[in-house]
Symmetry: C2
Subunit: 426 residues, 2 copies
């Protein structure tokens, strides 16, 4: 695409801010925070100043996301070797303590010293184990990366796949029996898990070149569009029964992304979609298209719908930033502004601008970028605040938590930097 | 059910014949034929007199079916330990030569000494590996049985499952890439393979008690009825595209059950169903219902349809026996009489008689029993002839071949003996 001089100016301003934030704030913060020097692995609860809160539970999601992040930094040539060493420390703690030698699979949480705490097996965490270990393999050349990523893939196929309806079950007891129905999650499937399986399978393919992971990535992409994307609106549907009948989205006992208001017992309305998941799915799918060498043309209109819905309903034009959730074709319902939706929407809007060349995507990117840089980033600390209300009042102020860690922020800044660099210097 | 005295008389006559054939002909034949004393494993090509033909290729289907048969004989208390020793010899040859250490999975054929010949990986053969090894585990207590049965299950899930449409792909190259479309079979799914996966998963569950195999068996049962059984007629549909659209059934390059006429290049008509598969599926499903402790009532009408179609169109009322194939609601098209359809229909008709208590099933059993005992069995040799035309002229006369071995005949006679004993002495 041809980027106008005026657009380049706007992009360059953002590029400089992104670079400064990355090099002077975010990267230094994560090269000096989060490592558990006593037991290994990561301590992921940090207060508003970046100090450990004293909470020491280790979650599969955070340990693996940290491994992913440090590995990806090293792959990007950052961290002077320190990022890789931190990643390796995380891998060793994970292998030593999170794998269940008796039943297979990864525990959901452990105590600081690695003693299993919640021994459930959750597909969501397993998708991040595959994503992280394959990224670590690519970053390090350490064969344990793909060995354990493959092992995770194999146990997920053997014990979590649904050979009747396609896709995967998501919530299991330690011995891989399905958890109870309802809040146990044993009878639910979700866009969230399957989207992250696409992300994980894509990485398995990139790391190994094995045709099976190419096939699996394609199967999941088709599965997402067959069942989990609204046939008319092109937006994501959140939760399903095993046969893919949409269900009101409920909060499960084993929860991640729990900072927002608890739902009522009925769950969220059926006519509800997540701006953050839609745009994250959009750019992750674009990444998958690139890694697998698929025909972008065949997916263009689907990518556009995922972004345009956020553009139309999800962005606060007055105060900046992206809301959480709303109707498939109607206004936002949950108007708080959470860190991860901002992070994913920034990448997605730059992607859309690159693909479609329309200024509305640049406008949207700038809107979110400004909200993030002017309001969400704790510049003096280095990380992002987690949550604001629709009037941009700070609701939570910690830097890291049970599931908020550097995965969304570092990945977003790294991915935005790459895209901005390409757009500015094209 | 209450069996009338007249019916008991008829059943007792058959029972005596079955027992005599089993003890005096079939069992002695298989305790003295088929073992490869030079290299181990089994030599499965035997002429009309039961002598080795000189053909020495070893097929995965025959080696595993033999292991199953000898193991099942020992479990039934037969063979005085010799059956188990023969089974064990087969297992050792299989583990030593058929497993692919590099890519995983079982080769399709080997030479007599175990050198791989056709190194394709075929789901059909893998289903029999699971069936045989779990049966061997139950017969012997040898832990290698379930170890390798599980390993087969795991590799099938990891490399052959279709996470988009459900079920399994069936034809692969040595490295598990899908084979070519069409005659390569890479883009086809079948009732045959999925029915035998139900049989295998049921055995895995019986042998291990592991809940995952119970789940998998139920998934396959539901999958069969959702896609592979005609919604109106309740009869089996033979072949499908990966998304379960019925296709004209073609013959594949890697073939089993190839004794009948080769199809024309267009494949068999769409309106075509196999009497043998329908009734075999019926009684195997009844076995699954028993092993899993399912509610028979929920399946009764489906079992009835599978049997009644054969009763209405598949039986030669004049000359006895069961034809091969015909329309879903119309006359038989392929009217040869092959050994395995007789074997399976005998068990199925006794099952139906036990379940429904109607004389028409006893009549059908008697019809097939008479055809088998008066025409098909080579009483002076001990095994069954493979193929007759509709006028009961012998078309093939060997006792064993690339895929005809003791699996259908011994299992049928054993299963009929059990049912007849129960009916006669109830």
């Amino acid at each position: 695409m041809r980027v106008s001089d005026r657009a380049k100016e706007r992009l360059e301003k953002c590029f400089v801010e992104i670079q400064d934030h990355f090099r002077d704030e975010l990267l230094p913060f994560w090269l000096t925070h989060g490592v558990d020097t006593k037991f290994g692995g990561y301590l992921t609860y940090l207060d508003k100043d970046g100090n450990p809160t004293g909470e020491t539970v280790k979650t599969l999601v955070c340990q693996t996301r940290m491994i992913y992040t440090y590995s990806s930094l090293h792959r990007a040539g950052l961290g002077d070797g320190k990022a890789l060493r931190i990643a390796q420390g995380g891998v060793e703690f994970l292998l030593d303590h999170f794998w269940d030698d008796q039943h297979g699979g990864w525990y959901w949480t452990t105590e600081q010293d690695g003693t299993p705490l919640n021994d459930n097996k959750i597909a969501y965490g397993h998708s991040f184990a595959m994503y992280a270990l394959s990224e670590y393999g690519m970053a390090s050349g350490d064969l344990r990366g793909m060995e354990w990523a493959s092992k995770t893939y194999e146990i997920l196929q053997a014990l979590a796949s649904d050979n009747l309806n396609g896709g995967f079950y998501e919530f299991f007891e330690r011995d891989w029996r399905k958890r109870a129905k309802g809040r146990g999650g044993g009878d639910r499937k979700s866009l969230d898990v399957h989207m992250h399986l696409m992300e994980a399978f894509t990485n398995l393919y990139e790391a190994s070149g094995a045709p099976i992971y190419q096939d699996k990535t394609l199967e999941i992409v088709d599965l997402l569009f067959r069942h989990m994307i609204h046939p008319q609106h092109g937006t994501g549907i959140t939760q399903f029964s095993p046969d893919w009948t949409p269900q009101r989205a409920i909060i499960f006992d084993n929860v991640w992304g729990s900072d927002r208001e608890a739902d009522d017992s009925e769950g969220r309305p059926l006519d509800n979609t997540s701006y953050g998941h839609n745009v994250e799915f959009g750019w992750l799918l674009h990444h998958t298209i690139n890694i697998l060498g698929l025909d972008l043309g065949a997916y263009k209109e689907r990518l556009r719908k995922l972004c345009d819905h956020c553009l139309k309903y999800g962005i606060d034009r007055q105060r900046g930033g992206v809301y959480c959730e709303g109707q498939h074709d109607g206004p936002a319902r949950e108007r708080n502004k959470e860190f991860w939706q901002q992070a994913e929407a920034m990448v997605a809007m730059l992607d859309a601008y690159q693909i479609f060349g329309e200024d509305k995507y640049l406008d949207a990117y700038e809107n979110i970028h400004r909200f993030v840089f002017d309001t969400m980033i704790a510049h003096d600390v280095g990380e992002w605040y987690p949550l604001f209300d629709e009037n941009n009042n700070l609701l939570r102020d910690y830097m890291a938590h049970a599931w908020k860690i550097n995965y969304h922020t570092v990945r977003s800044v790294r991915e935005c930097e790459r895209r901005l660099s390409k757009l500015v210097y094209s």
